[in-house]
Amino acid sequence: MLRRVARRLPALKMAYRNLSRTKVRSSLAALGIVVGVVAIASLGVFGVTLQDSISGNLGDVGNQFTVTPSGENGVTELTERDIERIERVSSTATVTPMQSNIQPVDFGGEGPASQQSLLAVENPQRVYTTVEGSIPQPLRNGVLVGQSLAEEHDLGPGSAVDINGTSRRVRAVITSSGSGFTLNPDNRLIVSIDRSAREYDRIVVSEPSGTEANATAMEIRRSLNNREQRVSVQQLSQFIGQIGKVFRAVNIFLVGIGSISLFVAGISILNVMLMSTVERREEIGVLRAVGFQKRDVLKMMLAEASLLGVLGGLAGVGLSIVAGAIINHYIAGNALAVFSPQKLLYVSIAFAFAVVASIVSGLYPAWKAASEEPVEALRS
């Protein structure tokens, strides 16, 4: 197999032999490429991992948004009619009305009851996940507590709390993420909603996907604010999109820094190739004398440069994947996450960049070697 390749690509065979004549020098030049590839690839992978990790912490809320009263034109509450209009906009949406208020709560400890933020929610199991216990359906008189609040007052399923003079039982402790930044339940108590009030201060709308959520949000803005500015719609996905933009800019900057090292590696290849051109001046003259065309010499020298690039690049790719796995292990907790298309894209870009940089660096020495007159080379 190798023999057949060698016969097909004599320039590559000659190049390999020539590079192995100066093993240390060739390895050092290739090492420059390795460092360049690792720099670009691991900085790229690092950026993507950080972005993924931060977006992940913000919650999987791209498909969720919140409708609140706009505060203008005397609109301070949302009504059943608003819910109906939202439901009319999208048949796939899950609409969860909420009402927040502040009530005196006694956690059963010593001291007076404290003022706590309560969130009355219809069907809380739609928007919240539990750490402990389960959300009964319906919640009736039960109460759910946010994680921080539960830790602070040592609450768990079965604990009793006194809200505004009425004793209620804690059913579950709920996780803080996964429900959007405007509704973070961490320090809240969740109770079932009293729909007889028919007034709400926010409505959470969930859609099966982010694209649908976006379309619904736009439609709600259009139809509910038709005559007057009634509602405002807050989408977390917009926020995440902006974070994404910032991260892409940071990533380009990081990869830019990484490519400086590849640029330096290219100069080192240029240097090594020039040295080898000078040292092998007579030999190249002989090759030209025995019938090598200029382009044959060019091919041979470019093959040397590309071989340095490809070998260095491959080693760099191997090391980058190892480095990427370590980065992913520590940031994302999953070493195998390095094999995501976006991260592998950075690795491939680094490799391609290495090969191109090597060939570009080899151009001048190759041209110099090929254009030397054999009679001049042999005279020396």
Partner: protein, 219 residues
């Protein structure tokens, strides 16, 4: 007649000075002839060889090689023509150190996709008495052996002419005799014209005729 050169003149410009390396030289060479060009250093021997070998072009004069006028050939055409008709042997052998004897002999065929080249190389090495040194690298060979590898290399393209620049310059007397024997055999058996440029008087014993060059002129 394989080479017909007439009125060949070569001038170099160095600074404001014009140096005439060859001055109106006429030269004819027949197949199977072994000719030496002799003369002191700076007499224009190597220039003459380079012009005959299509490595250099004359300032004036006409050269016909194997019936073909060489004036006006492009670099690429000259290289191809050189490859087809001329073999070179150098004083310093110029073998590639990483290649074995056989591989060194096949170097001129590298870009030709010529699967028969290694077999021919082994045959040529066998004929110059290196049948047992086929896989040796240059640093494992003596000076005389290296020069034989170079002779085999010069013959791999089946040339009409072999040009040798000081072929015995780096060899002791005995080895020199052996190498010159080899050239004489090449000329006889293969009907190849051999031109050796040298200032080694020993060469005269082997050649059919000698051309003496002094200050670029034939004496």
């Amino acid at each position: 007649m394989i080479v017909d050169a007439s009125g060949v003149t070569k001038r170099y410009e160095t600074g404001n000075e014009v140096v005439t390396a060859l001055d109106d030289v006429d030269f004819r060479l027949h197949s199977g002839e072994f000719v030496s060009i002799m003369g002191p250093s700076g007499s224009g021997k190597t220039t003459c060889l380079n012009i005959l070998g299509l490595l250099d072009t004359p300032t004036e004069g006409e050269i016909t090689l194997d019936g073909r006028q060489v004036k006006g050939l492009s670099d690429r055409e000259r290289t191809t023509f050189r490859k087809q008709t001329i073999g070179f042997v150098f004083q310093h052998y110029y073998l590639i150190p990483t290649l074995t004897a056989t591989e060194n002999v096949t170097v001129p065929r590298t870009f030709d996709n010529d699967p028969g080249a290694p077999e021919r190389a082994r045959d040529l090495l066998d004929r110059v008495g290196l049948g047992d040194r086929l896989t040796h690298k240059p640093d494992e060979l003596s000076g005389g052996q290296k020069q034989r590898v170079a002779i085999a290399r010069s013959l791999i393209n089946r040339p009409d002419i072999v040009l040798a620049d000081e072929p015995t310059g780096n060899l002791d007397r005995d080895t020199g005799h052996q190498i010159l024997d080899e050239f004489a055999r090449v000329a006889d058996e293969r009907d190849v014209a051999v031109v050796a440029v040298t200032h080694d008087e020993l060469v005269k014993e082997y050649t059919d005729r000698t051309i003496d060059l002094i200050d670029g002129e034939v004496c």
